[in-house]
C-alpha cells in the first residue's frame, strides 16, 4: 500500500512547506526541527524529476516567512546557482550524471530561473551574473 520513496519524500517536505507557509511561528518551529524541510541532499541531480520537485518546493518555501533565509542556511541556493551557471555556460561539473543534466537542461534551467524570480533574490542573481561573465571571459 505504500508508494515510491522519492514521492513520499516530497509529500513529507510538501506538508512541512505548507505548514511553514501558515505563520512565522510555524515556520520557526518546523525550521528548528532539522531535516523536515528541504535540505541540500534533497536536490539529487541524478534524478531530474526529483530535482524539479525539489526546486518547485524551494520556490514555494520562499513564500513562507523566513523561507529564503532557511534555503541559504541549508546551502541550497549556492547549489541552485551553481547548476544554473553551468547550464547557462554549457560547462557542466565533472559528475557521472552530466549527460543526464545536459538532457534535462531545457527543463531544469527554466525551473531554476523561475525559482530565482519568485525568490526575488537580487544579490544571488547578481552573483550569478558575475559568475557567468567570469566563465564567459575565461
Amino acid at each position: 500500500m505504500t508508494c515510491r520513496s522519492s514521492i513520499v519524500q516530497f509529500r513529507v517536505i510538501s506538508l512541512c512547506v505548507r505548514l511553514a507557509q501558515q505563520s512565522a511561528v510555524a515556520a520557526t518551529q518546523i525550521e528548528n526541527t532539522h531535516g523536515l524541510l528541504l535540505t541540500a541532499a534533497d536536490f539529487d541531480l541524478s534524478d531530474v524529476l526529483s530535482f524539479l520537485n525539489a526546486v518547485e518546493l524551494a520556490s514555494q518555501l520562499t513564500s513562507a516567512p523566513g523561507g529564503f533565509k532557511l534555503l541559504k542556511q541549508e546551502r541550497i541556493t549556492p547549489i541552485l546557482i551553481g547548476v544554473l551557471a553551468f547550464i547557462s555556460s554549457g560547462q557542466l561539473p565533472g559528475r557521472a550524471d552530466d549527460a543526464e543534466l545536459v538532457m534535462a537542461a531545457p527543463f531544469v534551467g527554466p525551473a531554476l530561473v523561475g525559482f530565482f524570480g519568485k525568490a526575488r533574490c537580487i544579490d544571488f542573481l547578481f552573483f550569478f551574473f558575475c559568475f557567468f561573465l567570469l566563465i564567459f571571459f575565461i
Binding site: 505504500t2 508508494c3 509529500r11 505548514l19
Partner: protein, 171 residues
C-alpha cells in the same frame, strides 16, 4: 420541498439505525467480497456522520485503525474522511487523535510528551506514504487541519512523530 422531505426522512431513518451494533457493519469492511466492502463502506460513511467523533475514536478505534490500513482505497479514504469531519466538528478531535482521549491535551501540554499515544495520529502520518495520491492528499490535509488547532503543531513535532516523518522522508 420534496427533496427536503426526503432528506429529512433519510436522516430519521439513519438515526433509527444507529442503535444497530456498528461492530457488525464495520466487520463487513474486512470481508473478502469487494462488493460487500463497497456497500459497507457507503453505509458506514452515512452512519459515522451521525455518531459523535468521540465515540468513533473511543469505541471503534480498532476499526478506525484497520480502516486506515485497509487494502481498498475507498475504505482508507472513508476512515480519513471520518477523521476530517471530526476535526471540523469536534473541539476535542486533536486530543482524541493524538492521545486517544478528550480534553486532556489543553490542560497538560507540558506532560503530553511523556504520555502514551493513541496511535491514530501516527497511522494518519503513515498514510502520507499511501500508494493512492488521493488518500495521501487527504492525510496531508487532515494533518494541516490538526496543526491549525491550538497545540496542533506541538503535537506534530513530538519526537515520535518527527522521527516517523524523517523515516518516511529518508527511507
Amino acid at each position: 420541498m420534496r427533496a427536503s422531505t426526503n432528506a429529512s426522512g433519510a436522516s430519521t431513518a439513519m438515526q433509527s439505525l444507529v442503535p444497530v451494533p456498528l461492530d457488525i457493519l464495520f466487520a463487513c469492511l474486512g470481508s473478502d467480497s469487494e462488493r460487500i466492502v463497497e456497500v459497507a463502506c457507503e453505509v458506514s460513511h452515512l452512519l459515522t456522520q451521525l455518531l459523535p467523533f468521540e465515540s468513533v475514536v473511543l469505541q471503534y478505534k480498532d476499526y478506525a485503525t484497520a480502516g486506515l490500513q485497509h487494502p481498498l482505497e475507498a475504505v482508507r479514504a472513508l476512515a480519513l474522511n471520518v477523521f476530517d469531519k471530526g476535526m471540523d466538528n469536534d473541539e476535542n478531535a486533536l486530543d482524541l487523535l493524538v492521545l486517544g482521549r478528550p480534553g486532556v491535551y489543553y490542560l497538560l501540554v507540558a506532560d503530553v510528551r511523556t504520555q502514551v499515544q493513541s496511535g491514530l495520529f501516527t497511522v494518519v502520518l503513515h498514510s502520507l506514504a499511501d500508494e493512492s495520491t488521493i488518500v495521501a492528499s487527504q492525510a496531508a490535509n487532515l494533518i494541516i487541519k490538526a496543526c491549525n488547532r491550538a497545540n496542533g503543531l506541538v503535537a506534530l513535532l513530538q519526537p515520535e512523530h518527527v522521527n516517523l516523518l524523517l523515516s518516511l522522508k529518508e527511507r
